[in-house]
């Protein structure tokens, strides 16, 4: 378990890795990736019990499912830095014959990935299936699912929400990356999410809120959500899209756009190299 300073150092390197991955192939999704770098760091380097030697079934491990698969760069960097595969492999992101597909996939056998995602709205259902399995097998560990906020516009999310509450799937923690942005603009411009807390509550979930860049807040909130209460848990996580790179912060414009060479240089100058670039 790492202390806050160590976690921040890891997150800084992950942010560098994100920028370098997308810049190298001039494609990918840096905005949401940067926004979730602190969450991934806290989950994989502080909260979750997991094994980088990777077993698909993940018995007696906490499991993580990424529903908003487009933020693959942050997951790939996190998994590599946690020892799931060589950090060098980040060089192959989105290139031909790579295990690091544009959106996460199991097809090429990348350790750490348990299901493909990219087409939105599906990950929460998959996570519920895994959580049911853990209950059947008397496995006490927790299943995490991360979704985007715009992704909540998908109907399947609410099918899953209704099911999990009815069946008291309380070994499940859904985290919503609530940055307020999606491809075409802000959530409020596209399809407003309205009273998000009220929506989840009315579906029968225990709702938590946290700042996705505040480490003590994240650790406290996630640990609280892990206390099984008979209800599924959702954490509405306030984040800033593009966090850590000033010209990318708080706008949807860097959702799915790579920086050019000059912008990359400016971005990397703002992110300390702490663990060594690949």
């Amino acid at each position: 378990m790492k202390d806050e300073n160590q976690l921040k150092q890891i997150a800084s390197q992950i942010r560098r890795d994100i920028i370098r991955q997308v810049a190298a192939v001039n494609s990918g999704h840096p905005g949401g990736s940067l926004g979730c770098a602190d969450l991934f760091t806290v989950l994989y380097f502080h909260i979750m019990k997991h094994d980088a030697s990777f077993n698909m079934k993940g018995e007696n491990e906490d499991l993580f499912f990424l529903s908003n698969g487009h933020i693959s760069p942050v997951w790939y960097s996190t998994l590599a830095r946690a020892g799931y595969f060589p950090v060098e492999e980040l060089k192959t992101f989105r290139k031909l014959n790579s295990r690091l597909q544009g959106h996460p996939a199991t097809h090429e056998g990348l350790p750490g990935i348990r299901v493909a995602s990219g087409s939105l709205g599906q990950g929460l259902s998959v996570a519920i299936g895994a959580a049911l399995s853990k209950k059947l097998n008397k496995d006490p560990r927790t299943v995490f699912a991360l979704t985007g906020d715009g992704e909540l516009q998908e109907g399947q999310i609410w099918e899953a929400a209704m099911f999990a509450a009815h069946n008291k799937v309380d070994n499940l923690i859904a985290i919503v990356d609530w940055n307020g942005q999606q491809i075409d603009g802000s959530n409020d411009d596209v399809i407003t999410l309205g009273d998000l807390e009220g929506k989840w509550k009315s579906f029968g979930w225990e709702v938590h809120e946290m700042n996705g860049h505040d480490y003590p807040s994240m650790i406290t909130t996630i640990n609280k959500a892990k206390e099984n209460t008979g209800k599924p848990q959702v954490i509405l996580m306030r984040t800033e899209m593009g966090k850590g790179v000033d010209f990318m912060e708080g706008t949807h414009k860097w959702h799915g756009k790579a920086p050019n060479a000059e912008q990359t240089e400016i971005a990397l100058a703002q992110l300390e190299e702490t663990l060594g670039d690949y």
Binding site: K57, E59, A116, G118, S125, V126, E159
Partner: protein, 320 residues
């Protein structure tokens, strides 16, 4: 017919599914039955009663059911996700494509009420495109058994097979003619009647229609038709098709499905590559169905016994 294939009873294919699930529930603790508010229609009540902890009621939310099945399979369970064929495929194609097929999950999608023989509920429910959609997915095994006993055997076989499967069966009572305990192997065609003049490759409910047609071809037209049951649409038993077509030189395909994208197209693909052969299709011709009795619908949409007879004569006469 070969001696063993005589009609002994009339039972719905879905009843075979329910029976096999009960047996699997008792014999394999990894088997999970999932249903989307159609437990009775899928004949899963005995499973639910015997194994409530391994029965998952998904409610009317098929997309969530498919996703949960992927999660259950990821963690080592063998989920059977069941509903009507329309809701098991067309409604959830993207969920199957990404979370099940591309992710190569050991999920069994089991669908009842396929095709026109659903009957009175009409075209909204009579899916005739499901075999095509499912066979296009890389790595997906697609099986359409022909009677009660074959569904039992197929259901047990897919539980032992690792990988995603689409198993399709139907609603109405249907003749039972495959003897109990007839060996069933995924991807291996079953010879129903050897013949020399024309090959009939049939799947699902159409195997019975073709059996009756074979009798008429023999008695009224002196045509010795060979009838082969292609229960597995994918992987297709190419060897059985080539071997039969080599012998007869003329082919008819019979399926309760659109002619676009079904068994007929799969057979044509094999023949055009390896053994160009005259082929006639008995299938629905680019049309939706409608309400009616199963037998009325089969006749109206060109899937009657006389349609199989006519197609066989036409294929036979095209041999020059």
């Amino acid at each position: 017919m070969l001696d063993q294939f005589t009609v002994t009873d009339k039972k719905a294919t879905r009843d075979g599914f329910g029976k096999a699930m009960s047996e699997l529930g008792a014999s394999n603790p990894k088997v999970i039955a999932m249903c989307a508010d159609l437990t009775g229609s899928l004949k899963l009540n005995p499973f639910q009663d015997a194994h409530p902890e391994r029965f998952i009621q998904a409610g009317i939310s098929e997309a969530n059911m498919i996703g949960m099945a992927a999660g259950l399979a990821t963690t080592g369970m063998i989920p059977f996700a069941t509903t009507f064929a329309n809701f098991a495929t067309g409604r959830v194609y993207d969920q199957i494509r990404q979370s099940v097929a591309y992710s190569h999950k050991n999920v069994k999608i089991c669908a009842s009420h396929a095709g026109l023989t659903l009957g009175e509920d009409g075209a909204t429910h009579q899916i005739l495109e499901d075999l095509g959609m499912m066979k296009m997915l890389p790595g997906m095994t697609v099986i359409n058994p022909c009677d009660y006993h074959q569904v039992i055997a197929a259901t047990k076989a897919i539980a032992d097979h690792h990988g995603p499967v689409y198993l399709r069966f139907g609603r109405p009572g249907w003749p039972v003619f495959i003897p109990e305990n007839t060996p069933f192997k995924i991807g291996e065609a079953l010879m129903i009647q050897p013949g020399t003049d024309v090959s009939i490759f049939a799947t699902g409910h159409m195997v019975y229609q073709a059996m009756e047609a074979v009798k008429i071809l023999k008695s009224e037209h002196s045509i010795n038709a060979e009838l082969v049951n292609i229960h597995t649409i994918k992987p297709l038993d190419e060897q059985a098709i080539i071997s039969s077509a080599t012998k007869t030189g003329a082919v008819v395909t019979c399926e309760e499905h659109q002619r676009n994208g079904g068994l007929g197209d799969s057979v044509a693909q094999v023949l055009s590559q390896f053994l160009p052969t005259p082929q006639e299709y008995v299938a629905v011709n680019d049309s939706f169905g409608e309400s009616g009795k199963p037998s009325e619908l089969l006749d109206k949409y060109g899937l009657g016994i006389t349609d199989v007879v006519a197609a066989a004569i036409k294929a036979f006469e095209r041999k020059a």
